[in-house]
Amino acid sequence: MSRKRISPNNQTRNSKQSNRRSPKRGSLPVRYRLLALFCGLFLLVGFFFAARQHFASMDFSMKNSQLRKMSDELESDKRRLLLAKEIALSPAEIKKAAQKIGLKAMTAANNIQIARPTESINSEKTRAVGKVETAKPKPVAAPNKPQETAAGEKLTAKNVAQIKAPDVLVKLEKKIESAIK
């Protein structure tokens, strides 16, 4: 086994040769370098874009979750307001409010006058007279006579003017408006 010894002269010559050759061998053409740069940049932008998308999606998810929560809360509020409205409109509450403003309960005769259909009354009249008349709408009650509220109370022109929307309803309206906003 003999080891081939390289003389320093040879070594220098070889390295010199290789140095002379290396720019030709090792250097890539500019277009390749540009392509590599472009690919690198593309990858970088891709990563950047992906990261941005990831964080954006996280952000949207959070917003979505908040909106969903808000929607649930609004739905709950809606139900609560509906319930409050029903409480305010319950016959017992209306009766209390009516009594507060001095309305009185209607008599059976008032009730029946309202219920009696005008057509049947007119038709009886026409039958008796023997000529055809156009059925005129009969006033439900005389203007000075009290009319009925939902709870069966009297309404007169005087106390109708006194009726104000109950505080609860005003509050409800405000709440609804703010909820819509």
Partner: protein, 692 residues
Amino acid sequence: MYERRQKTSRKTDTTQTIFTRFMLIVAFFILWIGGIGVRLVHLQVNQHEWLLGQALDQRRNQVKSKQLRGTIYDRSERVLAMSVNTKSLFADPSEIEDVETTAKRVAAALKVKPNDILKNLTKAKEKGKRFVYLARKLDEDTAQKINETLKDVDLQKFDEPRFAGIHWREEQKRSYPYKTLAAQVVGFSNTEDVGQAGIEQSQEELLHGAVLKKWQDRDRLGRVYDESETEDEREPPKDIVLTISNSIQYKTEQALEEGVKSANAKSGMAIVLDPKTGEILAMANYPTFDPNKFNDAAPEKLINRAVQSMYSPGSVFKLVTYGAALQEKLIRPDGFIDCSKGFIEVAGHRFDDPHATKTMSYGEALAVSSNYAAIKTALGLGKEKFYNYALGFGFGEPTGIELPAEARGQIRPPDTWFGDSLASMAIGYELNVTALQAAMAYATIANDGVRVKPHIIKEIRYADGKVFQNQKTEKTQIVRPEAARGLRQMLQQVVLKGTAKRAQLEGYSSAGKTGTAWKYDARIKRYNESKFVSSFIGFAPVDNPSVVIAVVIDEPMGGGRDGGQVSAPVFRQIAEQVLPELNIAPDTDIHQETLTAQTKIPAEIEIAPTSTHQTSEKENNSTKTFEKEVKSEKLKNSAAVESKKEKKPTLVEEKDLPKQQRQKTIVINVEKPKGDVKNKSSGATEKAKPKT
């Protein structure tokens, strides 16, 4: 040469050393990487599940909530029961370091004593509990105030309240906006949202919401960035629309309350129903309760007596007696019956009747509530037919209404009857009915003999309005339309001339029957003559009935106690408000003077089947003899009706009649089961005085 050799060996040694060292480092790295690899494999393969769970635990949490319970509406879509979201405050003692400070802060926020909270928290912490309720079912405003009070600025917590170890839990609260209105019908649900009474109980399966499991992914700050929801296999909750009208219900309840209070009675019930469709428009009970505070209500107030309580109907049951007889063509409304005897004796039991003093039409007999006429009519029918008709009218069986714990009533089969049972049942004793059963029997007559299954649920639907189930009407013809019309005429006589003049309406014709029955007292094991159940069941208008109204007052104590005086005015009050509301055109004139002659109203006399039982030695007299006698009576009666049809009948006083024409008293002695012989009160005759 040596030097050169030495130099060469030294060089070789250095290279080898470097190589060895390098290889050692490489080996070390390989071992290190190998170790990491092994560890990774171990973690990823063997400990995968556990690690996954740990990871999910850190970023994920599960929130359990229940879908809101279905809403109950009345027929005009007004909310009778609705659930709303509420918040409950709870503590996780394991997350709390300073229990005392926490207790003080929480107590200040909730405005309660800190000692109670401190006690609870300390106890829970010692036991290692991780859940302690601090306040339940709070509304949104209160929750907001608590959040503001319990704000710890230094704490990094995303959810409110921003206080260590304190959390909110979503719950729901059932609300009944109309409070006492239709309380027994709607019922109530407990804190766990499980129906306990009324529709809430009977429709629990439909109303109950599914349990929702919400998975939330959170970032390190606790912000939710992803959510997914799962629900159990239960169907989504449905909304229920009732046939009840809140306005009619309110008016009915008001009238009933007034009636019960003025009669100083123990309780009362009223039913308003549409005879054509079987829809219950109102079902009222008094005293009542507020389902929002059901814990405060006395247990007896929670019962829907209209379907759960039974009572002896008394004369109201004569509808079945006369209805069956009309159907069997045994009697005619304008037929006559000789009631001059004044009493009737059946199986040794004497039934006195002060109204039975003359020959009168069946209409008149029913108008004055003659027991004599009713018993004779029932005897003409016979046990089997009477029993079958009673069943046909719906007695002895639950009506099938969608309410819980409906009583079936009590009517024994004929083979277990006593000798006088038929007579007793003909006037509404020895049997028990519910107010709804009685109302449905009258609805059958009002609906031309067609019995319609009553119902209180109009529609069941999903929350989005899609219909899940509609009600179907079941109809059965019980009596001929002519027979029903005949009975309606007879019942009108009760209101116009008889015991129920107080049931006359302004602008509408009405018909019905009063009933005043002694109450059975379990303590003394017999009918208590001082306790009554006074009822009136009627309908209006007579020709085309739109509503049937049943009013039953239990144990009236003040003034008049009979159905005509106690229940008929309540009927009137309800009908006069309900009929115009239903847009029913008046069929008579409005007259205020109709009720002026209050004193002329014949009081109803009820004789309970409890008089001294005369045990005769001729107890072996069979029912065959009785039937023969009845048949001959029937023939006589029909002949009399035919002959009187020709002439306009005039009422004849008893003394004017020849002795032969007077009705024979039928005496039947039938053996009673031993040991069950009732104590017959001799007070029947004494009670048989007109109460004015």
